[in-house]
Symmetry: C2
Subunit: 322 residues, 2 copies
């Protein structure tokens, strides 16, 4: 058996794990609920269990394991393989690396999950061969990552690339981060849900009435897609406005980073890829300078749900050299 | 005589030149009006003449000249030492490097002037020792530069770091670039002048009445300073609003780049350094996340008018290795 890599995508709701061979093919997968409400030790045990299950599913022993890579949400100190702070997980200055290396006797690397999503696309997906890449993932919130000169940019304190909290409209709505007018407050699923509910409260008829009335949750990308494909006017106008603001954010990033590629991903983009790309392409000329826009391709994520897993594999390569 | 470096700051209104020795001390200086209205050949001749005058002022021959470095406004192709496009100079795809190397038989490097201003501060000024730095220069417009991992960031097409044209307020005023709500349209001298004139038109009493009524020019930083220091309410409220928006821009950059230092420079900051730094410090907590802000120093430029000259020297070092 050749050497194996284990890649993890540790999220607030689920943990995805995969075993890859030396050709970076996924050999098997495991998926678990994270259940962060059960506390730190429970989450830690689940992560360890995920790796053990992956190993036994592939018939691997410790000696076959070359390295483990993981993406996790929050401020991740990649140098020390520590989670400094994760808003939706019970972790603060948590030495994930030490724990994993003790358990599995193999090198462990960890990075911010959305950052790794972009790194994965750059190394294995749509952005292969580009030197400068910006990625935006539009889901409940908006996260992103930046590749500069073929290297993941993480800032001086591992906290850079907070693309979702770029203020694009100082007089805009309040964001959960406390600022007003963030990109995330205009173009995420949270923002779309807020605007749909406002429309509903104003008695705008919509096929989403029942979906929106059920509790205080965030709209699912699949429900939004269904309503838009059915021609629901409230869903369409809300979506168009969200993508308009998304285009402002993309324009700012093009003017700042002059990238060869902007990658769009996340639940909303996966559900409505064609619509998002068309609308961005309609709007972007207003917000990105022609000199830069002409050098930039805007593409949908290729690796989709596996982007963070491949990003973890790419981080192993970037840090450990294999 | 040790080897000498000639550094140029080629602007739309003036050309600054300096000779530096191997200890990077400025030995002599020359200053000329650019007069771009006289056409490309005239500007080219002036640049060449500036270098000849510097050499004779220092008693140098061609053999003493190690290299020439220059900063110029616009999109500069540093790799090929070409000016791709300069909005305020009669240059388009101009092979400045070939011209200068033929004339002086010494290597020539060129970069965007504001980018080089930040590079100069990083190598010789206030940001020495920092890995990640963002600089903003507030004058007639707003320009900037970014150092990432100890290297000047210029993007894939030499056009990155258009910090002044980051949209911070989609519903804001029209910018000369055609977008609405750019940082430059809110916080530059052009923006300040526009707001002062609006106040004047609204009959707000101000000591700047005569200054503003004289033609359609942009207010001088010195006049603004005088009015603010005299306690003029229109000048103070306009300035405070401009710095508020500047703080939005700085906050976005801190959240995106997680830099160790933000450098503020340019005419407005030089004239009103204390006031700008105080107001930014009052505002910035609303726009930069605490985790990143706590890692970031916000400082005024140290090299001031010489920042681009020193940046040209730093570019010689970055590209040629000496």
């Amino acid at each position: 058996m050749g050497k194996r890599f284990i890649c993890l995508d540790i999220g607030a709701s689920k943990i995805l794990g995969a075993v890859m061979n030396e050709d970076n093919e996924i050999l098997c997968r495991v998926k678990k609920k994270t259940s962060p409400e059960l506390g730190r030790e429970s989450v830690d045990r689940k992560i360890i269990k995920t790796v053990h299950e992956l190993m036994s599913a592939c018939g691997m022993g410790i000696k076959d394991l070359k390295a483990i890579g993981a993406g996790a949400p929050g401020i991740i100190d990649t140098k020390h393989a520590m989670v400094r702070y994760a808003p939706n997980l019970p972790w603060q200055n948590h030495a994930l690396g030490r724990m994993m290396e003790e358990e599995f006797q193999a090198p462990f690397v960890v990075g911010n999950d959305v950052n790794l999503g972009v790194l994965g696309e750059w190394k294995f997906g749509v952005a292969r061969g580009c030197a400068n890449v910006v990625g935006l993932f539009v889901g409940t919130g908006i996260g992103g990552g930046i590749i500069i000169d073929g290297k993941l940019f993480i800032g001086s304190g591992y906290a850079g690339a907070e693309i979702g909290h770029m203020i694009i409209n100082t007089d805009g709505p309040l964001c959960k981060c406390g600022q007003t007018g963030c990109l995330e407050a205009h173009a995420s699923k949270v923002a779309i849900t807020r605007e749909l509910k406002a429309g509903l409260a104003g008695n705008t008829p919509t096929v989403l009435k029942d979906v929106l009335s059920e509790g205080s949750g965030i709209i699912k990308s699949s429900d939004l897609k269904k309503a838009i494909r059915q021609g629901d006017p409230l869903a369409i106008s809300t979506f168009r406005r969200a993508v308009y603001y998304l285009s402002v954010g993309i324009g700012n990033l093009i003017n700042l980073f002059n990238p060869e590629m902007v990658i769009l991903g996340g639940g909303v983009v996966e559900a409505l890829e064609k619509e998002v790309l068309e609308l961005v392409s309609e709007n972007i000329g207003r917000f990105a300078w022609p000199a830069m826009l002409s050098q930039t391709q805007i593409k949908a994520s290729q690796l989709k749900d596996d982007a963070v897993l491949y990003g973890a594999r790419a981080l192993i390569s970037e840090i450990l050299g294999y």
